[in-house]
Symmetry: C2
């Protein structure tokens, strides 16, 4: 097995990429495409049942790479914050039951009707502090996911890897770290320096491409690797050099991809991961303008 | 005159807020609303002529606070980069002719078909280096405007104030500095520390609110102060504490605002600046959910 093959074998599919499949269907798609790792989502796991999900994944010989997602710690009321922590405890328990080593945390935006970023950010740290021991006792690590700053108001007041790392470093290195998603951090002029500092605090690595124009719902603007402008090799090299030796999930939110046949989507994920991460750069040059996107249906 | 009044008197209208007005019309609107400063745009100045614009502004007793904009240094070709520098020289000359102390620089995104952020960022520094002496000799300061990271691919590979400051610091403090727009920097967990470091390198300060949901064209999602979630007082305090004693421009890109009667828009700018920047916080609490936006037509 070459180095390239070894790296390719670490590709995982994040379930959000094939959002409409149930657990059995997504497991089958992964098996057919030779993808050996899978990042799960709580709603789909709840649909199938956590223990049944774990059994199906074990039977298929797959590895669970993460559970998405906990977080959303920010609320204007104490009862709202307590409810968030209770929900995160359930997420930790679910992660343990399905064998997910990592729970990704999308930390929450500004509470409705407020403008105090410092207060919201303190709620995030307080929330993680309330959960850290619980996570350790379940064998689950908490991975703070910095979200692109365009989500600061409504999804995550944690906007940069550096900021996420500063929160994580308030806790033991084995329990709280980072989920780095290329889509959220690619623009950051300090990302490589932060990744170096983060080292073993990098608990997960996710990929989706930045495609223009952004759609009306910017949450759904992500593309297959190669359809946008992110240099994935650069980020991959940075996280590997920092000591990360875990899986790489491809996690794409995109209505056109959700509408496409899932088996083809997973094959595309495998192919584009190979072309834009594993192989040398000459195999993955940016597409010429007007060349079309991978998400579009193939000509029939 | 109280301190509050003094601060209020530093409000300037950026011409983009009333995009469809020509120079004469926007001058009249400012005079009627008691706004004494104006940030100009090159296209409107070209329509009216630079010397005529300068004369009209002088006659009205207004102060020009900035000219928007130069920049767009990034291009895949050397000829494209040379053309950008030539265009910036014209912008510097125009700034001098209309009496603008500052030329705002929107530095440019990734060149089409490329993914190399470092290369694009080097083009920005090279472009500014080519212009710095020219700007000094015209009495014009160059203000690098970090744009929100959601514009990194297509408008500015300079995404944070810290990054802009690191570029500016390669040049004399009197010639290259920062244009800080709250809309672009409000989310940044390091903004207050960066503003402190920037000190006299802050050459301009602009305001527009972050309103959700983002529209399909995210360039146009800005709102009147108070319609979104930015704590303007916090940023205003930070820039004043850093030693900035210049004007504050309100610059809003929003189709609904452009469609509204301009005189009313300028009155709204004056009113919301007073309520959300000048007066203490209790006068400018976030609107209750569903309270509607200032940009919507008043009930008739």
């Amino acid at each position: 097995m070459t180095d390239q093959d070894q790296r390719r074998s670490r590709l995982a599919l994040n379930q959000a990429t094939t959002r409409d499949l149930n657990v059995e269907q997504v497991i089958r798609c992964c098996a057919e495409a030779g993808v050996e790792g899978i990042g799960l989502w709580r709603d789909r796991v709840e649909d199938a049942g956590a223990d049944r999900t774990a059994r199906l994944i074990r039977q298929a010989g797959l590895t669970v790479t993460s559970l998405c997602r906990g977080g959303f710690f920010t609320s204007a009321s104490a009862s709202g914050r307590a409810a968030a922590i209770a929900d995160n405890r359930r997420a930790i328990e679910q992660a343990a039951r399905v064998g997910a080593p990592v729970l990704a945390l999308v930390c929450g935006g500004l509470p409705a009707g407020t403008r105090d970023l410092d207060a919201a950010r303190a709620m995030v740290t307080d929330g993680i502090a309330a959960l850290a021991d619980d996570a350790v006792s379940h064998g689950v690590r908490l991975a703070i996911e910095p979200l692109h700053p365009m989500f600061c108001a409504d999804r995550s007041v944690v906007s940069t890897a550096s900021q996420a790392l500063a929160i994580a470093e308030q806790f033991p290195a084995a329990s709280v770290g980072l989920m780095l998603d290329a889509y959220h951090v690619w623009w950051d002029p300090e990302i490589e320096a932060t990744v170096r500092r983060a080292g073993r605090r990098i608990f997960g690595f996710q990929l989706a491409d930045w495609v223009l124009p952004l759609p009306a719902d910017v949450l759904l603007g992500r593309g297959h690797l190669g359809d946008g402008c992110i240099d994935f090799r650069r980020l991959d090299r940075a996280v590997r050099d920092a000591g990360y030796d875990g899986w790489t999930e491809v996690e794409i939110f995109n209505r056109a991809i959700w509408a496409a046949p899932a088996a083809r989507t997973v094959r595309t994920v495998v192919d584009t991961y190979r072309r834009h991460v594993v192989l040398p750069a000459e195999h993955g040059q940016p597409r010429a303008s007007g060349a079309g996107l991978t998400v579009l249906p193939e000509p029939s």
